[in-house]
Symmetry: C2
Subunit: 187 residues, 2 copies
Amino acid sequence: MSIEQIINQIYTVPEASGQKLRQVIEEVTLPKGHILFEVGKISRNVYFIKKGIVRAYLYQHDTEVTFWFGREGDTVISMKNYVENKPGYENIELLEECVLYRIKTSDLQKLFKEDIHIANWGRRFGETELIKVEERLISRQFSMAADRYQEILTNSPDLIQRVQLCHIASYLGITQVSLSRIRSKIR
Amino acid sequence: MSIEQIINQIYTVPEASGQKLRQVIEEVTLPKGHILFEVGKISRNVYFIKKGIVRAYLYQHDTEVTFWFGREGDTVISMKNYVENKPGYENIELLEECVLYRIKTSDLQKLFKEDIHIANWGRRFGETELIKVEERLISRQFSMAADRYQEILTNSPDLIQRVQLCHIASYLGITQVSLSRIRSKIR
DNA sequence: TGCATTATTTATCCTATGTTAATTTTTTGG
DNA sequence: CCAAAAAATTAACATAGGATAAATAATGCA
C-alpha cells in the first residue's frame, strides 16, 4: 500500500501538502517481534503500515490485554504519547515482518501548525478512529463473545490466519480457553 | 461553564480564532427529555454543555444501550453524522434541563477550512475523545462490572445522583437487576 | 393528599465465561 | 528431521451476570 493511498484514504490533501508529508517520511523494514512502542516510554515517531500486521496491548492485573490490531493502510501511533506528549500506556508489537513508513512526531506536529490541510488530515484521522473504537465499545456492550467472534470471521477472516488465537481472545475480552470452546461449537 | 473555558480546555486558540467561534455560537435552553440528536436523522448542529447532563444511546436487539454521558464542559456531537455526514446511529437525550451553546456544523466545517487554529482545535478534540473511549474499552476488557461501578462511585459520584440507575447499568454493560445486586453487596 | 406510574430491589433459577490442569497440536531451532 | 517450546484444545468445576417475576420504593400529577 503506497503512502499516498494511506494518507488519502483518511482525507484527501492537495498535492503540495502531500509533497510536504512525503519529504519527512522514510520507509523502514522491521522484523517480527520488534516492539515499536513501549509502555512508559516517549516515542518520537508515527508509523503507517505498508505491509504487515501489528497489535497494541497493555497489562491489566498482570494479564496481557490486546486492544487493537493494525494492518496494511493503518496508522500506528501511541495515542497518549502523541496526543498528550506523555509516556504511552501501551506496547505495540510487530506480529509479522513489517514494512513501515515512519515520520517523526515533531515533523508532523510542525506540519499541523503550518499546513491547514495537514491539520485537517490529523483531525479526520482522530475522528474516524474515534468512530471505530466507539463501535467496538458498543458491540461489546450487548453482544456475547461468540457473536463478536463471528463478526471477526465475517469481516476480517484474514485476522484469524495471521494472528495467534490468544491475542484474538484477549481482543474479544475473553480467555483463550473460552475462545477455544466457542470455536469448537461452531465446527 | 463559559464557552471560553469549554473551548480552551481542549486546545488553546488565539483570541482572534476564539472570536470567530464566538460569533457563530448561540446559547439555548432546552427542557429535560428533549432529544438533541435522533437515530437516522442528519443534524446540523454541534453543542457544548454549559449546564446539565445528557446521555447518548441506541438500540441493540431491542435493548436500549447507553454508551455515553455528557456533562458541563463536554461537547455533544453525533459522531457518525459529524464525521461522515451520514445519519447518526444514536439518540442523545437531555436528562436535565440544559443550557447549551449551539454551533452549526456547516459554520464549524467552514472554520476548519479557513482557520488553522480551529482545525487544530478540532484535531485535539477528536484525539482526546479517542483516548477516553479507548480507556473505557480497555477497562471493560478486563474488569468486572462491580469494579467499574466502583470506579464511577470514585471518579464521578455525582453521576449516580443525577442519572437513573437503569442508564448507569446500561452504560456499564449489565442489566439493572445485576447493578442492583452489586449495589446491595457494597452496602 | 392520594392514586397511578415508574424505578429499584429481591429472589430463583440458568447460562456464559472464568480457573486450573492435563492433553494434544503446531511451531521453531539445531 | 527431531526434540523442546509454544500454542491450542479439552475437561471439570466455580462464579458473574442474565431472565423472569414479584415486591417495594420513589415520583409525578390530578
